[in-house]
C-alpha cells in the first residue's frame, strides 16, 4: 500500500505516479498524508484505485475522477470532485463552494456541510450532503441527483434543467423555474438508490421533498420575462 507524504513529495510526483499506473496494477490502495490544503490532489485519476487523504485538501481534489474511490478525511476546498466522470469521492468534513460542479457521473458524498453553488451545472453526478448546502446550489443543473439531508440555502435550483433535487430539511428559497414536485415512483427509486450507494440506508425517502424544473423557461416567452 503506497503512502505518499505530501510534506515530502511534490504534488506533481504524486499525480504523475497515479497517472502512470498500468491498468493491471497491484497498487490499488494509496494513502496520502499531510495534504496541507494543496490543490488538485489526485485529480484526473482513471483507475479503480482507493485513495485515502489524511487531512484537509484545497481546490479540485479528485477533479475529473474516473473510477477511483477517494476518501478525504477532512475538509475540502472549492470544486471538490468537479466534473467527476465516475467512481466516488467522499468528504468526511465540510466542503467549500462548487462541490461536484459540472459532474457527469459517479457519487460525491459530503458528510458535513457544503457551501454555495453545490452541484452547480451538474450533468449526471449524484451528490449526497449529510449536512446543509449554501445558496445558488444546483444552478443550471442539467441532470443527476442532489440529495440534501439538512437544509438548502437561497435560490435552490435556479434555471434548472432535468436534475432532481431532494431536500429533507428546509429550503430558504427556490430559484427561477425551480418548483416543488410530486415524488413519483421513479423519483423515489432514484432517491433510494442514491441513498443506498451513499450507505445511508437508515434514512427514509419519505422524509424528502423533490424539487425540479417547471420547464417554463426552456423556450423564451416574453410573458415570463420577470423570471430572468
Amino acid at each position: 500500500m503506497p503512502t505518499v507524504d505530501l510534506a515530502e513529495v511534490k504534488l506533481r510526483d504524486l499525480n504523475g505516479a497515479l497517472h502512470k499506473l498500468p491498468r493491471d496494477t497491484n497498487e490499488t490502495h494509496w494513502v496520502i498524508t499531510n495534504p496541507g490544503g494543496k490543490h488538485a490532489i489526485a485529480c484526473g485519476v482513471n483507475l479503480p484505485l482507493t485513495i485515502e487523504v489524511e487531512g484537509h485538501v484545497g481546490y479540485y481534489c479528485g477533479g475529473m475522477n474516473s473510477d477511483a474511490t477517494i476518501i478525504i478525511e477532512g475538509n475540502a476546498g472549492v470544486g471538490v470532485a468537479e466534473n467527476m466522470m465516475s467512481g466516488e469521492v467522499r468528504v468526511k468534513g465540510d466542503a467549500s463552494q462548487a462541490a461536484g460542479a459540472t459532474g457527469r457521473g459517479g457519487l460525491l458524498v459530503i458528510e458535513g456541510n457544503a457551501s454555495a453553488r453545490c452541484g452547480i451545472s451538474m450533468k449526471g453526478i449524484d451528490i449526497v450532503v449529510k449536512g446543509s448546502i449554501g445558496s445558488m446550489s444546483a444552478f443550471m443543473a442539467q441532470s443527476g441527483n442532489l440529495v440534501v439531508l439538512g437544509n438548502a440555502g437561497e435560490a435552490l435550483g435556479d434555471s434548472i434543467y432535468e436534475a432532481r433535487l431532494f431536500v429533507r430539511g428546509s429550503v430558504a428559497s427556490l430559484g427561477a423555474d425551480c418548483i416543488e414536485k410530486t415524488m413519483g415512483a421513479e423519483d423515489r427509486a432514484a432517491l433510494e438508490a442514491v441513498l443506498e450507494k451513499a450507505e445511508l440506508t437508515e434514512v427514509s425517502a419519505d422524509d424528502f421533498k423533490l424539487y425540479g424544473s417547471a420547464r417554463r423557461l426552456y423556450h423564451f416567452h416574453v410573458d415570463n420575462v420577470d423570471a430572468y
Partner: protein
C-alpha cells in the same frame, strides 16, 4: 450605416409641391424594422456573425515598404519564414504551426459535422491548428485535425478528461469578442439528438451557455484551475487563455499571472454562432484598439514572445495578418472568414437565401439551423450538402493566400520572417487609428497620447 434615400422612380408619382421622402439618419430603415420586430415578438434579436457596424480596423493602417532606409527582400525568391511556436513557457510539448493563422473555436452544434471536418482538413493541409467549441470534441474533428486545441468553456458541455488528454492544447475560454461577459444561446431548433446527448440536455430546448466558469470566481481561482488542468495532463499541453477584448491590458496581465502559455485576444468584430445583436454591436473593443495594450502588458511583465499572443476578430486578408503581427501578435485566428471560405454566404445559393428573407453576403441567422450552405446547421439534409473534402480544400487555398499575402508584405518591409514585422513598419491613416494602434499618423511623427 449609410442610408440611401428612396429614389424617385421607386415611389408613386409625387403630388405637386411635395418633397421626396427622406429617411432619418437616426431612425433609418434598419432601426425602424428592429423596433417593429421587437414590438411584435417581445425579444431582442439573436443572430450569428459578428459586428456589422463600421469600426476602426486594420484598413486604417498602411505599411511603409522599404526604399533606402530599409532594404526589401526579393519577392518569390528570398525566404520569408512563417512558422510559429506556441506554448514555450511551461508546456512539455509546445505546438509548432507552419503558418501564423489558426482556426478559432467554433462548436459542433453551431456548425455541422461536415463543416467541422472541413475545418480540420483545411487546417491540417495548411499545417495549422483548429479548435473545438462550446459542445465538446467530436471524433471527426479529432480525426481530421493534425493539431487540435480543446476549448474549456464555462458551460463545460461535453467536457471530459479523455478529450483533454486527446487535445494538443487546451484553451480556457473566459470571454469571446462578440460578447465579452455574455453567455451563449443555441436555440432549440439546432438541438439534434446528437447535440443534446453531447451537452446532457433535452432535445429541442433553448440552450443557455454560462457566461462564467461555475467553479471559479476570479483570477486567483483561474490560476488554480490552470494548475488542475496541467496536473491532469501531466504538464504536457500548452494552456491558452482566451478573453474578449474589453480590458486587454489587465486581462492579459492576469492571464499571464495565472500561468497561461498563450493569450488569445478576440476583438468585437469576432463572430459568434448566436447571441444578442445588441451585444454584438455594442460591447467590447475593436481588435485594432486591443492589441497594443495587450502587447504592452506582456512587455511590462517581460513576457512578450515568451507568452504568445493570438489575436482574432475580423481578420480577412494577409494584410490584416501582417498588421496584427506587426503590432506584436504571434499569430491570428480566423472564424467567420474560415466559414466564408468553406462556402458560407455563397452567391450561388442566392435563390435560397432569398427564400429565407435575406441575401448572400448578409445571411446571419446561423442560430435558426436553416443554412442552405450546410455549415451552420444540424439538419442532416442541409449538412450533407457540404462536401468536407472540397470545402477543406477551399479553406486550405484561402489560408495559403493569407500566408502569401502576409509574406509579400513582410518581404517588402525587408523581413526574413513575418514575426520580424514591427510597429515601425506601420503608419495610420486616421488620428483614431494612430491612437488605438500606438503608431504615428501618416506623414508625421505624431502618436496621439504619446508625444
Amino acid at each position: 450605416m449609410t442610408v440611401q434615400d428612396p429614389s424617385p422612380q421607386d415611389l408613386p408619382a409625387a403630388a405637386p409641391h411635395r418633397t421626396l421622402p427622406r429617411y432619418s439618419a437616426t431612425f433609418d430603415p434598419h432601426t425602424i424594422s428592429e423596433i417593429q420586430r421587437a414590438a411584435a415578438t417581445g425579444i431582442y434579436d439573436i443572430r450569428g456573425g459578428g459586428a456589422k457596424r463600421k469600426l476602426p480596423h486594420f484598413d486604417d493602417l498602411l505599411f511603409l515598404g522599404a526604399s533606402i532606409s530599409r532594404y526589401p527582400l526579393e519577392g518569390y525568391r528570398e525566404k520569408c519564414g512563417t512558422n510559429v511556436v506556441l506554448g514555450t513557457r511551461f508546456a512539455k510539448t509546445p505546438i509548432e504551426l507552419k503558418i501564423p493563422v489558426t482556426i478559432a473555436g467554433m462548436s459542433f452544434g453551431a456548425l455541422s459535422g461536415p463543416a467541422k471536418e472541413a475545418l480540420g482538413r483545411g487546417a491540417s493541409a495548411s499545417g495549422t491548428s483548429t479548435t473545438t467549441g462550446d459542445g465538446g470534441m467530436t471524433a471527426e474533428e479529432r480525426e481530421h485535425s493534425r493539431t487540435l486545441v480543446y476549448q474549456y468553456l464555462p458551460s463545460r458541455y461535453g467536457m471530459n478528461p479523455e478529450d483533454l488528454r486527446k487535445a494538443d492544447a487546451i484553451e480556457v475560454v473566459v470571454g469571446q469578442g462578440a460578447k465579452p461577459g455574455g453567455g451563449g444561446m443555441l436555440l432549440g431548433q439546432k438541438i439534434s439528438p446528437r447535440v443534446a446527448k453531447m451537452r446532457d440536455l433535452p432535445e429541442g430546448i433553448d440552450q443557455r451557455s454560462a457566461c462564467r466558469h461555475p467553479d471559479w470566481t476570479g483570477p486567483d481561482d483561474l490560476e488554480i484551475k490552470i494548475e488542475e488542468l496541467r496536473e491532469l495532463t501531466d504538464w504536457e499541453k500548452p494552456i491558452y487563455v482566451k478573453v474578449g477584448a474589453s480590458r486587454p491590458y489587465y486581462d492579459t496581465a492576469l492571464a499571464v499571472k495565472s500561468g497561461a502559455d498563450v493569450v488569445v485576444l478576440d476583438g468585437m468584430q469576432g463572430g459568434t454562432a448566436a447571441t444578442q445583436d445588441v451585444f454584438i454591436e455594442n460591447v467590447g473593443l475593436p481588435i485594432l484598439a486591443a492589441i497594443r495594450p495587450a502587447v504592452q502588458a506582456l512587455q511590462d511583465l517581460g513576457m512578450h514572445r515568451k507568452v504568445q499572443l493570438i489575436v482574432s476578430g475580423g481578420i480577412r486578408t494577409g494584410a490584416d495578418v501582417a498588421k496584427a503581427l506587426a503590432l506584436g501578435a504571434d499569430a491570428v485566428a480566423i472564424g467567420t472568414a474560415a466559414l466564408i471560405a468553406l462556402g458560407d454566404n455563397d452567391p450561388r445559393l442566392e435563390d435560397e437565401y432569398r427564400k429565407l428573407g435575406t441575401t448572400a453576403g448578409a445571411y446571419d441567422d446561423w442560430h435558426e439551423g436553416r443554412d442552405p450552405a450546410g455549415i451552420t446547421t444540424q439538419d442532416p439534409v442541409l449538412a450533407a450538402r457540404l462536401d468536407p473534402v472540397k470545402a477543406g480544400r477551399r479553406l486550405a487555398n484561402y489560408l495559403a493566400v493569407l500566408t502569401l499575402e502576409c509574406q509579400t508584405i513582410a518581404r517588402a518591409c525587408g523581413k526574413s520572417h513575418v514575426h520580424n514585422l514591427e510597429p515601425e513598419d506601420l503608419v495610420a491613416l486616421t488620428v483614431e487609428a494612430a491612437a488605438m494602434a500606438g503608431i504615428p499618423l501618416a506623414g508625421t511623427n505624431w502618436i496621439p497620447g504619446k508625444f
